[in-house]
Point group: C2
């Protein structure tokens, strides 16, 4: 693992980032490295406090009192010491020894200057299995705690043997009725089981001692495995943490919002990057929670962002341009494909060498100077990559405000000024989707502004008629180390929503595919399909995948007419096997004529349960990576023809062979 | 993915490799690449036949008749076409359309020249949900099949809606009573549910149309996800495939043994390597199955290997030497640690430069010329790696025979001849555990033979007394691409057994740890702990892990005395935090004196449920990778102190900082 700080992050300004003045906290187990590394990263990211994860303390060279000083020196409070496992037991002798263990941990907490201990419900078969015994044992522990000036936050583990539901834990706490005993509410343990969180709002607020937040992708797997390996930060998974947190606030809880995320990814990621994303994730959650709370929406407004969800998200008119970093070897190949697709070379920027390909509305800008080089066993090769996506925006300033709010580095911001030409009134932002996931807010090269940048090649009017209604979606690859951070960025700054993910197996591997969408003024959403490339078998460098990965899909109204037009311009469509059409005929009630038309133009087909239909064809891959797709949606089809993806990959391999 | 064939494999000699003359087969879905790549690899590995996985056919450019020719040209039969999903339905109209789909697939099979179709039980809620309707619909399908000269192999998917158990599927097949309908038995679907496979032996042999074999690691997860992503080859997982296959043979099944392995790893691995391992896995299984079948043991004997499990595994006297590829920068550091550990520099091989460190019985050979270089952001660095393990063997020829049996490349074999010196009567083999997993059968540099290779440095007699009773275990890292192949190699050729795997989270990531053991003459097993390093964050090159990964652990009878002796020789033990001992005191009933002795010598402790105890201390890591460990086992403790592993890693990070 690199110790280099990959991202330089501006720490948020002072004052609470959360509603109702709540404090931010994070468990040390969320991060990689030594305890010192973790505390540095947590402080640097702007957190107010930490939960000390006991194994981190045990493995650290510093004594608890030294840790207390180190934490205070960094401006952090110690909000919780955790976990204390398997307290209760059917075996009285075991319980007696557990109390001795508890007393010893109280001594550690004395030195730490921390008064709150997390006590988990026991997953052991030997746990106290009736409420009476459990209440009695927790009451004993609470008395011990009170005598030592400590408090116990009892948490229902999702896989607890007797207690695995927050309502059960709360009932035991109520029965004990000792102010030294309360509950800890952990979103994972509650939402992973599908428990209804609305009951939280009815709990006495002062009985909720602590709030732990974690998101997770929906996975069909054992709860413990899911919890220990695949948690993620709020805004990176599929849990409804907004409602969850709303219920906790409604109960009257005013303590820290603390993150407890066990993640195999974060365990070997740069702790500074993880901690910064973690703090960002709490601010993202706070913004959404705030929308429903009049008190807290003031906070949101004071940060320059409106309270309602609609106002908060800068509305765009969709994708207007794509910039491809092609490099000198791929740029000519791109031109050979873009021309037949209907994008003529319309200008070259004399200062930068950028090549502008355009149809009436859309621009593809090819950069022949900068490509992504990957080194194969043979010679280095240029790999064309979609480096930027141009989005039309009526209020580009709002993008900058959002980027600032979430401490996302912005390369530069060009404010629209009085010198803007009329066509620049529609400003455009560029989302850089390559390595750094930074945001570049310089005006993009849009159809409305390219005259300023390019020496235009005049075209015949007929040629300017667009074949496409817009960009249907953009496909990009990401590595495991970037996946979570990208999801949070796209959701927080760009207001995108995630769909359920999908695993797609094909001839070169299994790829996790995750669609994200964002509403636009035109009604047609911006769609991004992120693909998780499981490992970089080629070592460091750009993500690539044999058969192609990165792509731009253009939308049209008549797939056959569009394919015919492209063919007449010389396009070679990716050849689709005859066997595919035999199978289509077996699977669908499509007439022979229709199938024949599809076959003639190498068009693939899908249909959904509600009668929606999807038609698409592909170009061969360029430099073994980038390809273009033309799609046509009918009847509200919402997918991406994923079922055809293995066919495309195999066809691309066969074409390249 | 590289298309380079990483392993050159000698294809097995003619004749069936399986008992009872059974044929070997494999589903195309097991491999990556185009259908052509897959068939090439399957033929090259020596299989007799294939299952054609329909999506592979659909995505292939060749028509079914061409595929039939291509398959025949490679000497392969097409044993099965699969899968046909969702045949039965509560909706009569849907069932009618499914029959049309079935007829179309029969036409494809006509062209393929294949008469057997796999029909899966349906996972849909709309599936036929009573046995009467299901029997009726399968009877109709069987009549259609018979009329077309086809047969249907009905398989109970583990997640089938109405039928998910092989006994239920067999009962339906019996009720239909049509010779065109039989069952397909898939070990994954049966064993993943924990179903008792002994009932298979009671099925009519001629009703079992097909046998699909897959192993899998034990995982607590959703059956479908487990099945689709984590199957592996026989001998790579935790299923008891020997009993399973025994039951199938007992029923009278004499058809192909076919592999159907859905694996995310194999989906992006070299298909030639996977296919060769696949064929090897069937031969490994056949050897174990054969042990229980007098008929088939003849096959085993004719291959030069005895029928009983005991005879088959070459017995060794344990580990006698370790060769460390250190390179010029790490070699001196190794010497600085080995000396205090009790291994004196006892000789240098004048021709190779190899350095021999030895105590009375054990040898550590340091190669200062060959190291594993990894390139950090700064300068290239030597990384010391355990390159070979020397095993004492009374019959080294048997190792060579087993390597040959499983087509494992052997670098060279030195037969013990009349010129052998007396001390060489104990021959030694070397297991190369680095990149290629090849086996090197040249005599290793053992305590008994080093005089031939080294100019010995005379030592004082006192210094020759050994501190250690032997090598307790060796720890090595493997990447995901090598893991399955290594498991199969270690189990088949070296006769090792796997324990349950374990996930160990620590300060630099989560690591899968898998112990393998092998019995020896002395009773103390050879133990190997393989660690799966999840991704090569440093790109290509050797696997490494901050805090150390590769290690050799020496066994002793008195941990405190050994630590004291090493200290007196100048050893710096890896400093263990005070906090660790505070926690030990809280967790265990260890007296203050005992804990104090542990603390003084940086000894870590573990105990198991049955009173077994484990004591161990560590050296700091050398060049951020290799370390040594000294361990003491008491009372039958079988683990490796995994609970202390995060403490060691954090301590190593702190020591290096």
């Amino acid at each position: 693992m690199s110790l280099t700080r990959t991202t330089q992050i501006t720490v948020g300004a002072g004052g609470s980032a959360l509603p109702l003045g709540a404090r931010t906290s994070i468990a040390t187990v969320c991060l990689s490295g030594t305890l010192g590394d973790k505390l540095d990263a947590i402080a640097y990211a702007g957190f107010d406090g930490v939960e000390i994860f006991e194994p981190d303390l045990i493995a650290a060279p510093g004594r608890p009192a030294e840790l207390a000083r180190a934490t205070a020196d960094r401006g952090l409070s110690i909000d919780l010491y955790q976990p204390f496992r398997d307290l209760d037991s059917q075996d009285p002798d075991r319980f007696r020894r557990n109390l001795i263990r508890l007393e010893r941990k109280f001594s550690v907490m004395d030195d730490l200057g921390c008064d709150l201990l997390l006590v988990c419900s026991s997953p052991l078969a030997s746990a106290a299995c009736d409420d009476g015994l459990l209440t009695e044992q927790l009451a004993t522990a609470a008395q011990l705690a009170a005598a030592r000036g400590k408090r116990l936050a009892y948490e229902a583990l999702a896989w607890g043997h007797h207690v695995n539901d927050y309502r059960h834990a709360a009932a035991i706490v109520a029965a004990v009725d000792n102010p030294a005993l309360g509950t800890c509410l952990d979103s994972f343990h509650i939402l992973s089981r599908g428990a209804d969180p609305s009951g939280i709002a009815d709990l006495p607020g002062d009985s909720i001692f602590f709030l732990q937040l974690a998101d997770a992708p929906r996975m069909a797997m054992d709860l413990l495995q899911w919890s220990r390996h695949h948690r993620c930060l709020p805004g990176q998974g599929n849990f409804d943490l907004v409602s969850f947190t709303d219920h906790v606030l409604a109960a009257g809880y005013r303590g820290p919002w603390s993150l407890e995320v066990f993640s195999d990814v974060f365990r070997h990621a740069d702790p500074v990057r993880t901690a910064s994303d973690a703090h960002r994730s709490l601010r993202y959650l706070a913004e959404l929670v705030g929308a429903g709370h009049p008190e807290s929406s003031e906070t949101a407004v004071s940060q320059g962002v409106g309270a309602s969800g609609e106002e908060r998200r800068p509305v765009t008119g969709g994708v207007v341009s794509i910039r491809v970093a092609a490099g000198p070897t791929s740029a000519p190949q791109l031109g050979e494909v873009l021309g037949p697709l209907g994008f003529d070379l319309s200008g070259v920027d004399s200062s930068t060498g950028l090549q502008l390909y355009r149809d009436a509305e859309l621009a593809v800008v090819v950069d022949p100077t900068v490509g992504t080089v990957w080194t194969s066993p043979g010679a280095p090769t240029d790999m064309p990559t979609i480096a930027q996506i141009g989005l039309r925006s009526a209020e580009p300033g709002a993008w900058a405000a959002r980027a600032a709010k979430f401490d996302v580095p912005v390369a530069s911001i060009a404010a629209p000024g009085p010198s803007s030409r009329p066509e620049a009134a529609v400003e455009v932002v560029r989302l850089d989707v390559t390595d750094s996931l930074a945001i570049d807010l310089r005006p993009a090269l849009s159809a409305g502004s390219w005259q300023r940048h390019f020496d235009l090649v005049p075209r015949e009017p007929a040629a300017v008629a667009s074949l496409y209604t817009g960009v249907d979606h953009i496909g990009i690859g990401m590595g495991p180390a970037d996946w979570e951070a990208a999801m949070l960025l796209l959701r927080s700054v760009f207001g995108m929503s995630v769909e359920e993910g999908l695993d797609v197996p094909d001839a070169v591997g299994t790829m996790r595919s995750q669609a994200l969408t964002s509403a636009t003024e035109s009604g047609e959403p911006i769609r991004l399909v992120a693909s998780l490339v499981p490992s970089r078998l080629d070592g460091h460098g750009p993500l690539r995948r044999r058969g192609g990965l990165t792509h731009a899909a253009f939308a049209c109204d008549d797939i056959v007419a569009t394919a015919r037009a492209c063919r007449s311009r010389g396009l070679i469509t990716l050849p689709i096997p005859e066997n595919y059409y035999d199978d289509l005929r077996a699977r669908f009630d499509l007439g022979a004529d229709r199938i024949d038309a599809l076959r003639r133009y190498d068009i693939l087909y899908d249909a959904d349960e509600i009668g929606g239909e999807f038609f698409h064809f592909f170009t061969p891959t360029i430099a073994d990576d980038l390809f273009f797709e033309v799609v046509c949606r009918r009847g509200g089809y919402r997918g991406y023809g994923e079922v055809n993806s293995p066919v495309r990959v195999a066809a691309a391999l066969a074409f390249d062979a």
